[in-house]
Symmetry: C3
Subunit: 308 residues, 3 copies
Amino acid sequence: MLPFDSLISANQLTPEIISQITAVTDKMADDIDRYGRINLLEDKVVALLFFEPSSRTMLSFQSAAQRLKAGMVFAQGAASTSIEKGESLEDTIRMVEAYSDIIVMRHPWHGSAETAARTSTVPFINAGDGGNEHPTQSLIDAYTIMRHKGRLDDLNVVFGFDSLQSRSIHSLTTLLSQYPNNRFTFTGPEELMPTSKMLESMNDMGVECSVADSVDLNDGYDIFYVNRLQQERFADPVLFEKNRKKYRLTRKQVEGSDCLILDPLPRIDEIDTDVDDLPNALYFKQASYGVPVRMALLSLLLSKHNTP
Amino acid sequence: MLPFDSLISANQLTPEIISQITAVTDKMADDIDRYGRINLLEDKVVALLFFEPSSRTMLSFQSAAQRLKAGMVFAQGAASTSIEKGESLEDTIRMVEAYSDIIVMRHPWHGSAETAARTSTVPFINAGDGGNEHPTQSLIDAYTIMRHKGRLDDLNVVFGFDSLQSRSIHSLTTLLSQYPNNRFTFTGPEELMPTSKMLESMNDMGVECSVADSVDLNDGYDIFYVNRLQQERFADPVLFEKNRKKYRLTRKQVEGSDCLILDPLPRIDEIDTDVDDLPNALYFKQASYGVPVRMALLSLLLSKHNTP
Amino acid sequence: MLPFDSLISANQLTPEIISQITAVTDKMADDIDRYGRINLLEDKVVALLFFEPSSRTMLSFQSAAQRLKAGMVFAQGAASTSIEKGESLEDTIRMVEAYSDIIVMRHPWHGSAETAARTSTVPFINAGDGGNEHPTQSLIDAYTIMRHKGRLDDLNVVFGFDSLQSRSIHSLTTLLSQYPNNRFTFTGPEELMPTSKMLESMNDMGVECSVADSVDLNDGYDIFYVNRLQQERFADPVLFEKNRKKYRLTRKQVEGSDCLILDPLPRIDEIDTDVDDLPNALYFKQASYGVPVRMALLSLLLSKHNTP
């Protein structure tokens, strides 16, 4: 049982919660391999509201619901940010809660998840609210590290290439800061390095932080968490092109190292495709964990889970 | 068993039919509470064709199908009014009937439901055909009144604020006119009052009708059925603004009265949000009945229903 | 068991494969009639990716998955040709294969199916890749002929009215060319007749070919396979109108003949609607076979099928 009804922010993910969800996720991954689909949520209906397109998140939530044999109601609409023109988000949620047992919502507005969760009388999962929070991505990142390193403490992690603005990097650094003995190195264009205030705040949490123009993956790093550069961050297209060419992982850099490569995807060109078949290229596996992680979360929030 | 294969118009909803559907709906609502989902339609496939967006109707039909464990095929498309460019509605229906056991269709064209039902060899439900008919909304309204007042006769009902053009109000007045001793009061802007011909026709059905510029909910009214004003009905935006401010339900008006407040939703601003937590504010409950009502209808048209 | 994991092209459909799929399809059609839905794929998840709209193909694949009680993940998007902006098709497939057990894809790009199938580690079905291939349509055509004529050899077939460019006609002539003693007659506007190279190639396969400005259906023809003229093929709208009026099947032509009329649909006006109720007008039946044919294919590719 989780101590909350709704997952809105990565800040809710304490080590205890992560450990609980990780254990159930292991069991779910095992159940997928063994049985394909299980009956756990066959008496439930999951509502998926995607007011903003995000096919990766959408498809993995669909898959999670289907592997649990839940019923599914589904609305998608990039154009509108509400179900009916002129209706408030609160009214939309009050309607959808009557049609389902749990609500998953993706919405373009910062803070919409908080409003929706406060209104809803059924459990609620934030599947991304604008640039604000996307806590199930953080859960997937934590699970991937736990599964492949066996721990979330005592890790030497590189973050690149946009540590200033990436939602995924912010959430993961915050999450890992709760565990002892983690060290973070940030790499990328100077303009996209964390601010000194951000670094200070991590230092205050006990994390040793450093920045580097480039890193050698053989220097004892456990994880390289890659996030692509976004063109819209650069006023100057020439500067963007220059940085894009410089900050990308090549096979030469990755091969032979033990450092695990993670990326929340989609990959544009921050990792060369000839890296994909290296054993430490974990990003597609990481994406695949989206299904058992979301199965675990749906089940736990509905107080129904297979004993780990 | 219903005496028809297709529900096209609220005119098909005789007292006998309503009584039959209401009884099955009670059982469905109970089954949702008890079991979440039931196996009743697990050997059936329901086709949902939404050629016009209507997320409220769509999500509640999805939920109804899922709670009955039916299979679902689903097409949505605001842009097109037919499945394939240039194909006739008749040909579309002939295709979809081969892929499903019952068809639910929302379509922007007045009269499209009649054409589709005439073509289809499987049962058909009109989920709204333009401004013409939306009979499942009328069923929900009737069920809500029956459930909370215990009767559909001897009611003192207020209709506001657009009794001239609202499809929901037209259908509900027609439906209730079949029962004895009902009285209707219409309120709203003068321009949106029912015509004298409409009033006469209701009088001929035995309904006592009156109009009022404003009503006091403590004057013995059983139900206030609210429908929002639509800006497009007003040539003059100033006049619209004036009416919008005047014709809206406030907490002060509703509090302390026994009069039940119904609204087919979406709510724009015809009811203040601080009315929502009053015990006689029934509109969200009314919306929630969309699921068991549509479960009852799907089951009855497929000749499969839990004995009430 | 099929000798391949992915169906990309009608060229894979050898007589042996067709015979195997036909036998399973017969059993599936029988199971639909008897049980509505069967449990065969209840432990599987089918991904339906429709990057290009094609509601007929989409709805029949949905229906096939639902009749087999498979789970379904579903993405639709005419605007984009990839799941996420900027992501390669290969990366998209690598994600979707992690969320499902088999992938069905419709895509506007010629050759996209081949790329996707080569990437995917789960079975893959091409549901149309641009103007290139649409092998499940050919399977449906073959099944329809087999079911109603009892054979795929020794047939006297007319093809009209665009034998030059129709993907369906190309695939079906290639498929039928594998069987002995078939004769093809092509009819339609001169500009849309097969080239002499095409005719030669069919002759080389042992098929006796001829062209005719018009045909009398009582002249011993077994099948008339109709495909509509497409306006975009004609530079001159007047010429298009002239041909459209000339090349269409009328009741007078079809009535009394034993020749079976097939059409992959949608029908625009290449067949008069008063032909529809004639016993040899098979096109709606042909469309309905889309469900059992696709059920057979999904099951066989997942190595799960009811014994025929």
